[in-house]
Amino acid sequence: MVIDININQAGYGKDEPIIQNINFSIKEGELVGLLGPNGAGKSTTIKSILETIDYMDGSVQFWDDSMRYAYIPEQPVYYDELTLWEHIQFTASMCEMSEEKMKDRVQPLLEIFRLNKVIHELPVTFSKGMQQKLMIILAFLIKPNLYIIDEPFIGLDPKAMKDFLRLLEHERANGAGVLMSTHMLDTAERICDHFILMSEGEVIAQGTLENILKAAGSNNVVSLLDSFEILMERT
């Protein structure tokens, strides 16, 4: 087990809960898709895991104290005044990583994502796709036990997306768990092992694709999108 999440309530305050009764866990090597329409509570769930939410009643339990997560946000965040290489140095220093180890890990990533020619440039001058790649490189640099990824497919070109999924696959094979929040149900259906469908701040169904289709309970249901629609209508 990588993480166990039991949230009774979370939001901006006790009187303003946005999500409630969110219970799920992520196992080693598992890719869990957190799915739902806008306003379903996906981002609040992620904020609760990151402990950046104002109010939370519940627990987020990492099964190893030294376990680390890396969060790849939909909107890249960085220091405007630091170069790409300095972001890498800062991240490595925060993890007390040696310079050799940092270089060994980061050089192949820079080549894969074709950022090796702009390492001394400021990310603020990059395109959104390049900034997104920086977020991905930093996450793969620290090799966490859990990757939390918010809308990973927005802003990336097809090659970068393919490379990203390949790297993620490799990390999963080494035992890392992944929580991926996305709107793209067709892609999610193809790559996720486990799904959590959210609507209006609550989990309406969770399990494997088979479990979800079964929960939708219609003979015509063939895809995740169809079953999601049925389950949404029911709630």
């Binding site: 680390r68 997560y69 005044e81 630091l82 991240t91 220093s93 925060m94 001394h120």
Partner: protein, 410 residues
């Protein structure tokens, strides 16, 4: 709804906004520790000026004071009182918008009158007591300053809306030079200059009122002004930190930083403590506006210490050290509140020593210059050696004080 009613409503909204801001930031401690002592010292200083106690104004030339007046005339801004939502309905009611425009100009003229009167009353002892101007000459000079300030307010906003950035800057610089020359000329030719100023004011009004307003530019300028003022005030808040307008806009940023262009590492060790130190130093040196603010504050502070009479110097010296510490605290809080730090689960790090070290580093250059200025003015060359030592000790105490009041648990 009439134009006046609309203007009244917008003005109420405007004041409600600033009142809320005042309630958030100014509590009784600010009154007790800053405003009341400032008023007491200020009043005593003002009375001394009328009594000709300080001797430093004797060394100040009239040209220098005119430059100060021109600089203060340049400052200031006013609002169009338009909202984004007006584009849906009000913008089509041209009579209503024109009326709103006329009332906001009238309001601006009133506010400029209050500000100019206040300022001219404040500097009056220097002109009347030290430059021996008679009251009537000074009154005519004040009226001239008021008329020119009002015209400047109109022209400045109009130029900002209609001209490109550099043309705007150049035009305003030119206007300020013309104003300076007019003030200079008014010393010998006051009536003529008053007539010219009235012509300038009337022409400015005709220019502004005859041209249709540019909706989106007006909104943008209002928002920018409101944000600058708000964030300057909120700068004092521990969690908000420095004003956002002090970060550069993207189109001003070049691909590589101007200093440490090849991402040279300042510390060879890869630890969280050194990472934070490096982060603080590099981001600070690369934020040109912060560097400029720091330099302005330092050299402005030195000028105050030099200009003010004896015991005020010590008081100002202490206040300046305190403010540099506060500036360092604001900067620290801003940097450690950045969302980048939420991307990963870092191991808990003890940062109180890092913050202390950084605060000391930030305070030392200003403290040294303040101490040299104070030391020299109070004790001549001996002071240059003794006061900096005291300054270092005080800076370290203030740095320790502020470092206990920052965000250190990342």
């Amino acid at each position: 709804m009439t134009g006046f009613e609309l203007f009244k409503k917008r003005l109420q909204h405007h004041y409600r906004f600033y009142n809320r801001l005042r309630h958030t930031t100014v509590d009784w401690t600010v009154w007790v520790y800053i405003f009341i002592p400032f008023f007491i010292v200020g009043a005593s200083f003002y009375i001394d000026l009328w009594l000709k106690v300080p001797i430093w104004p004797e060394n100040v030339s009239a040209e220098f004071m005119l430059m100060v007046v021109v600089f203060l005339m340049y400052l200031g801004s006013h609002y169009a009182f338009l909202f984004n939502a007006d584009v849906l309905y009000l913008w089509q009611k041209i009579d209503l918008i024109n009326a709103l425009n006329r009332y906001r100009i009238g309001y601006m003229a009133l506010i400029t009158f209050v500000k100019t009167s206040l300022f001219m009353i404040l500097v009056s002892p220097i002109f009347i007591q030290y430059f021996n101007w008679d009251a009537l000459t000074y009154l005519k000079f004040s009226i001239l300053v008021y008329i020119l300030s009002t015209a400047k307010e109109l022209l400045k906003r109009e130029a900002k809306i209609r001209l490109s950035k550099w043309t705007y800057r150049f035009s305003i610089l030119l206007l300020m030079i013309v104003y300076f020359l007019m003030l200079l000329k008014s010393v010998t030719n006051d009536w003529a200059m008053l007539m010219v100023s009235i012509v300038i004011l009337v022409s400015s009004m005709v220019i502004v009122l005859s041209k249709p307003q540019k909706f989106y530019q007006e909104i943008e300028i209002d928002t920018e002004q409101r944000n600058q003022f708000t964030q300057l005030i909120l700068m004092q808040s521990a969690h908000i930190g420095a004003p956002e307008w002090m970060t550069q806009s993207n189109n001003q940023v070049s691909n590589r930083p101007w200093i440490f262009r090849n991402s040279q590492k300042l510390y060879s060790t890869y630890t969280p403590q050194f990472a934070y130190q490096e982060l603080m130093i590099k981001t600070l040196l690369r934020r040109k506006k912060w560097v400029l603010l720091y330099l302005q504050f330092t050299f402005g502070g030195v000028a105050l210490i030099v200009l003010f009479p004896s015991w005020y110097k010590v008081l100002i010296y202490l206040i300046l050290l305190f403010f540099i510490g506060q500036l360092a605290r604001s900067y620290w809080n801003q940097i450690v509140s950045e969302r980048f730090l939420e991307l990963f689960y870092w191991k808990p790090v003890e940062l109180s020593n890092v913050s202390k070290k950084m605060f000391r580093l930030m305070m030392v250059p200003s403290s040294l210059l303040f101490s040299i200025a104070l030391g020299y003015k109070l004790f001549s060359y001996v002071g240059i050696i003794i006061v900096p030592i005291i300054g270092f000790i005080l800076s370290f105490i203030i740095a320790d004080f502020f470092s206990r009041r920052v965000i250190i648990n990342i």
